[in-house]
């Protein structure tokens, strides 16, 4: 029962992520404020790590990153594999060591994932000779302000899946 639940849970996590990606593609990329649109993928990559096993979450983050690398044009090959695997690992640490799994844990993990995404982009650009930290910080900040308010929607759907297919 527990094994079957876990399998269903991961399938539904995947479907939920797909749904939000479709929402991102169809609507969010066209909703611009301050020249920026909300960017959900880092949040989707870390959300399962709030409740799930750290190793499983890391694998899921890497697989989700690979899918993003193949469908979104990354700045370097495997960019999202690295970012999302690292973000999922960090989220796993947050939920197991620092903050009790729940909304605040999800919010903190999302914040960390978005910051990590911005930091990796800034790093890639600076390696390529585009060394503009102020612009990078500005984009990251605006992205945070626009994306974090959407965390509750992602959290609620993932929590519903978690409750519908419990671990025990």
């Amino acid at each position: 029962m527990s094994q079957r639940n876990a399998l269903y849970r991961w399938i539904f996590y995947g479907l939920a992520a797909g749904l939000f990606l479709l929402f991102q593609n169809m609507l969010l990329t066209r909703l611009q404020l301050w020249g920026i649109h909300p960017f959900l993928p880092p949040i989707l990559a870390v959300m399962p790590a709030v409740w799930e096993d750290r190793q499983e979450s890391l694998c899921a983050g890497a697989v989700f990153g690979l899918l993003c690398d193949l469908t979104i044009r990354p700045p370097i090959p495997c960019f999202y594999v690295l970012v999302f695997a690292a973000a999922a690992f960090l989220a796993g640490l947050i939920s197991t060591r620092w903050i009790q799994p729940g909304f605040f844990c999800a919010l903190t993990a999302s914040l960390a994932a978005l910051l990590l995404n911005g930091a990796f982009y800034a790093l890639v650009f600076s390696v390529r000779g585009i060394n503009d930290m102020a612009a990078s910080a500005s984009i990251t900040g605006r992205e945070l302000l626009l994306t974090l308010p959407l965390t509750p929607f992602v959290y609620l759907l993932f929590r519903h899946i978690r409750r519908r297919f419990p671990a025990d």
Partner: protein, 277 residues
């Protein structure tokens, strides 16, 4: 499931890492679009088209509610512009006849610009806030190749094809931080370089560097065509502001692109060109 991951988690992670590294190497070695990236693009293509159709429908519903006053004002502006353009055409006809006569006297070849154009729909706007790219509904099967220029319906430059799969292609727009083009000031024909910048990306502006002559606000900037990679005289944008660079010795300009990247739904890829000056 947990047991499976505990037993095989490291194995899975290793497999994913190997695939990731293989992708990195494959991408670094090949100059074109990698096989996996191409295949993923082909699979994702119908979903992108579906997304574009739905969001286009939502946008068209929103457009219905545009205020009448705004449309009247736009109509008035268009009437004024039309009158100005009519005057320009009359002048151009006189100039053209004079030009033809002078070319005949000097026995110069007739100027010619032949473009092979392939129309394509935009199926995906920029997904990331750190770059500016468009995904098109056509690819190598329609003759589109990496390096092709992309223009809008008015002939204004949109960007360059940087990835091309079987039935999809990616256009890096002119405002992308990594975009770089040889340009010329239309009025003076002086060469310069147009680049995208990270700090100008959100505002959708460009930077014009290595300026040699005097620039004035409103100057039209076009592609230089030097080197023969891109056609010449494709309109990039207009000079919005001329500023002193960090050293204080030189100057650079902020350009406003002529094309409206946010409202594009269809573009034209220049798959082949011949320009005789």
């Amino acid at each position: 499931m947990k047991r499976f991951f505990t037993k095989n988690g490291i194995l899975l992670l290793t497999a994913v890492t190997i695939v990731a590294v293989a992708l990195c190497i494959a991408s670094a070695v090949s100059s074109g679009t990698g096989f996996l990236y191409n295949a993923a693009g082909v699979i994702a293509s119908p979903f992108r088209s579906l997304g574009a159709t739905v969001s286009g429908w939502v946008q068209s519903v929103g457009d219905h509610f545009q205020s009448i006053e705004a449309l009247q004002q736009e109509n008035e502006e268009l009437r004024r512009e039309n009158a100005r353009l009519q005057a320009d055409i009359r002048q151009a006809e006189t100039d053209s006849a004079e030009n033809k006569k002078l070319r005949n006297i000097l026995e110069l070849r007739k100027q010619r610009r032949d473009f092979a154009l392939e129309s394509a729909h935009i199926t995906q706007q920029s997904f990331s806030n750190w770059s500016s790219a468009l995904t098109l509904s056509k690819g190598t099967a329609s003759g589109i190749a990496i390096g092709n220029c992309v223009v809008d319906e008015y002939g204004y430059l949109v960007g360059i094809v940087t990835d091309a799969g079987l039935n999809w292609s990616t256009v890096t727009t002119i405002v992308d931080p990594e975009s770089k083009l040889g340009a010329a000031v239309f009025r003076t024909k002086e060469p310069a370089i147009v680049t995208g910048e990270l700090r100008l990306l959100s505002a959708g502006k460009l930077r014009l560097s290595y300026i040699q002559g005097e620039l004035i606000n409103g100057d039209l900037i076009v592609t230089s065509g030097l080197g023969g990679y891109y056609p010449s005289d494709l309109v990039i944008g207009t000079v919005e502001d001329v500023l002193a660079d960090d050293s204080g010795m030189g100057q650079y300009a902020i350009l406003s692109p002529m094309t409206d990247l946010d409202s594009l739904s269809e573009v034209f890829v220049i798959t082949a060109f011949e320009v005789v000056e």
